[in-house]
């Protein structure tokens, strides 16, 4: 049985006001360790709202998000920040890198915030991450000296810097060209293959199909769940083998 990395139980998120508006309406979801989950749905369906709840950027009105076995509904804002810093990595549609800092400085920012490593170790790890994403020669460049795809890869390196169990990505390829989209999605796929949990919101059905699983959200509810192409292929192979057996 696979270990659950991220679990949502009865999640509800409402916008209170003169007219109450429900963004997420009673979602139950489990994501296993090392699983690549894609969340899809039409605009305004609540997929980004669900992701922000799963990433503890927003708090639900009802329900709970359990991160690596730790319930989070009763945590204070500071405790939620600590969980985000140590267990979660974020990638957004826009890179959101600090413009005055170099790529390397941006990558080591979460490590410095955590304050658990020496300056030398942080820089070594930062360079290692940039090198693994093909950005070693851009370490001393500022975001405005990089292309869109390069900036997004720096943002991925930053998300990975504190070795989080879960990567949460909101339309990470939404502002990229086709080549960069392919590159970034491949990186996320590789991250999942290396044992980390990846949850991605995307509009692109072709990319979503490459995830292990895809949940389709409509009106704040899970409308359908699909198995990804690769998992489906693996399942077919397993079925063929089973059928062929005497």
């Amino acid at each position: 049985m696979s270990e659950v990395a991220l679990q949502a139980t009865g999640l509800v998120r409402r916008i209170e006001g003169d007219v109450s508006h429900i963004l997420v309406n009673g979602i139950d979801l489990s994501v296993n360790k090392g699983e690549f989950l894609a969340i899809t749905g039409p605009s305004g369906s609540g997929k980004s709202s669900l992701l922000y709840l799963l990433g503890l950027l927003d708090a639900p009105n009802e329900g709970d998000v359990i991160i690596c076995g730790q319930p989070t509904s009763k945590l204070s804002e500071s405790e939620r920040a600590d969980v985000r810093l140590t267990r979660l990595g974020f990638v957004f549609q826009f890179h959101f890198l600090l413009p005055e800092f170099t790529s390397l400085d941006n990558v080591i920012l979460p490590m410095r915030a955590a304050g658990k490593m020496s300056e030398k170790d942080m820089r070594e790890r930062g360079l290692e991450l940039l090198a693994s994403l093909g950005l070693k020669e851009h370490a001393s460049k500022r975001p405005n000296q990089l292309s869109g795809g390069q900036r997004q890869r720096v943002a991925i390196a930053r998300a990975l810097s504190n070795r989080p169990e879960i990567i949460v990505a909101d339309e990470p390829t939404g502002a990229l060209d086709t080549a960069s989209t392919e590159q970034v999605f491949s990186i996320l796929r590789e991250i999942a293959d290396n044992g980390r949990t990846v949850v991605v919101v995307t509009h692109d059905p072709a990319l979503a199909a490459r995830a292990d699983r895809r949940v389709h959200i409509v009106d704040g509810k899970i409308h359908e769940t699909f198995v990804g192409e690769r998992k489906a292929a693996e399942a077919a192979v397993t079925a063929d083998v089973t059928t062929a057996e005497p």
């Binding site: 950027l57 927003d58 920040a81 810093l85 974020f90 939404g174």
Partner: protein, 414 residues
């Protein structure tokens, strides 16, 4: 959250906005500089004035007087009694056994004491009459308790012994009466005694009321004018440290029973006006520092507004709200500290420049440079208040900015 990370981010923010940062620093520097200059000028003039005042008069004056009416015989006899037309039991004026009292005081006070006789007299000269205070002194002892010897403009204090009924008069009085050393005046005492006196010297204390209304003679002439031979009605003390005068006066009064007045008590109305002046000047200086911090408020407001996305992303990465807020406080502190350092230099240069300006001093009758008091306290207080104002000014825009929900910013950007 490690402080060096927050300082690094703060430093990056302020150094990437050189012009805005310099304007903020200039505002702080001007506020601090002018505050130091004002404080130095204010305290300098005050100290200078007090020094003149203290030099002119005895630090403590022991008078043959009491602060309240002595207990009356009827009060000693009866538990409750209504008193009217109270008679003073000590009808004979003067301090009893003045030599013994002085010997006793000399044994413990940090300074010296001299006897004198204070009375009033009328000068009849040139057809006019003028009331003055006549103080009889012992020239040999007087030089140990007053600056009269150094205030002499004509003659010397010792000349009092060289002529019969000699007197020393203030310069303003001499000008008013058109007399000079060697001239004679008619003095009329309280008991109708009339004496022809010779002016042997002219002094200038710098205080108009003294120079116009005070004359000095030997003790025996003052006793004659008072009609009380052998009486000493005033002891005058000069202390090594004038600032302990009030404490010594209290102790002397407790020991002798005579009213002892310190120079502070004698000039309490003046010192009280100094307190009011200090308060006004401090308020103005505080307002200057507060106003100078508005530049910092403006800059931090601008930075926090421009950095809304950065704030959102730092919070989403897991930096706590208080940590992000501290970044902007550090930015204000950086602007404040550099501004304060520049302000110290400006303040010193302003003080130095002002000290080169000369003005006519009515107290001394000479042209003197403006008195500036250089004190590290001025620098520390101006710097401290300015730093407090800067960080305070940053706190509110920083708090407002860091309360923003990251999701709102991320959604807005998307």
């Amino acid at each position: 959250m490690p402080a060096n990370l927050l300082v690094d981010i703060a430093w990056t923010h302020v150094t990437s906005r050189v012009r805005q940062t310099l304007v903020g620093m200039a505002g702080v520097a001007m506020g601090v500089g002018f505050t130091i200059m004002m404080a130095g000028l204010m305290e300098g003039s005050q100290i200078d004035f007090l020094r003149q005042l203290v030099d002119t008069m005895p630090h403590v004056t022991v008078q043959d007087d009491r602060r309240s009416v002595p207990i009356q015989p009827a009060e000693q006899e009866y538990g409750a009694v209504q008193m009217s037309n109270v008679a003073n039991l000590n009808s004979r004026p003067g301090i009893r056994y003045p030599e013994s009292v002085m010997a006793s005081l000399r044994s413990w006070i940090p300074g010296d004491v001299a006897p004198s006789v204070r009375t009033t007299a009328i000068i009849d000269h040139g057809g006019g009459r003028l009331g003055v205070t006549l103080t009889g002194i012992d020239p040999r002892q007087e030089i140990r308790v007053s600056k009269l010897a150094s205030q002499m403009r004509e003659g010397q204090i010792g000349d009092l012994s060289r002529a019969p009924n000699a007197i020393i008069i203030g310069q303003a009085l001499a000008e008013k009466l058109a007399v000079k050393a060697g001239d004679t005046l008619l003095l009329i005492g309280g008991q109708g005694v009339q004496v022809t006196s010779t002016v042997v010297g002219v002094f200038r204390s710098g205080l108009k009321r003294v120079d116009e209304g005070q004359i000095y003679s030997l003790i025996n002439l003052a006793q004659l004018m008072m009609g009380q031979s052998g009486v000493i009605n005033e002891l005058r003390l000069r202390l090594n440290d004038p600032l302990i005068a009030q404490k010594i006066a209290t102790q002397v009064e407790g020991q002798t029973g005579y009213k002892s007045v310190s120079w502070q008590e004698a000039n309490s109305d003046l010192l009280s006006s100094f307190s009011v002046r200090d308060f006004i000047v401090l308020t103005v200086m505080g307002a200057m520092l507060l106003t100078s911090s508005f530049a910092t408020y403006n800059i931090i407001s601008t930075i926090t507004h421009e950095k809304r996305q950065d704030i959102a992303i730092m919070k989403s990465l897991g930096m706590r709200e208080t940590s992000v807020r501290r970044i902007f406080i550090f930015e204000a502190a950086i602007i404040g500290v550099v501004g304060i350092l520049a302000g110290w230099v400006i303040g010193y240069l302003l003080c130095y420049g002002w000290s080169k300006i000369t003005i006519y001093n009515t107290l001394t009758g000479t042209t003197v440079p403006l008195s500036i008091y250089y004190s590290p306290t001025h620098y520390l207080v101006a710097g401290g208040i300015s730093l407090l104002c800067c960080t305070g000014a940053a706190f509110f825009p920083a708090r407002k900015a860091t309360r923003v929900h990251p999701v709102e910013i991320i959604r807005g950007a998307s």
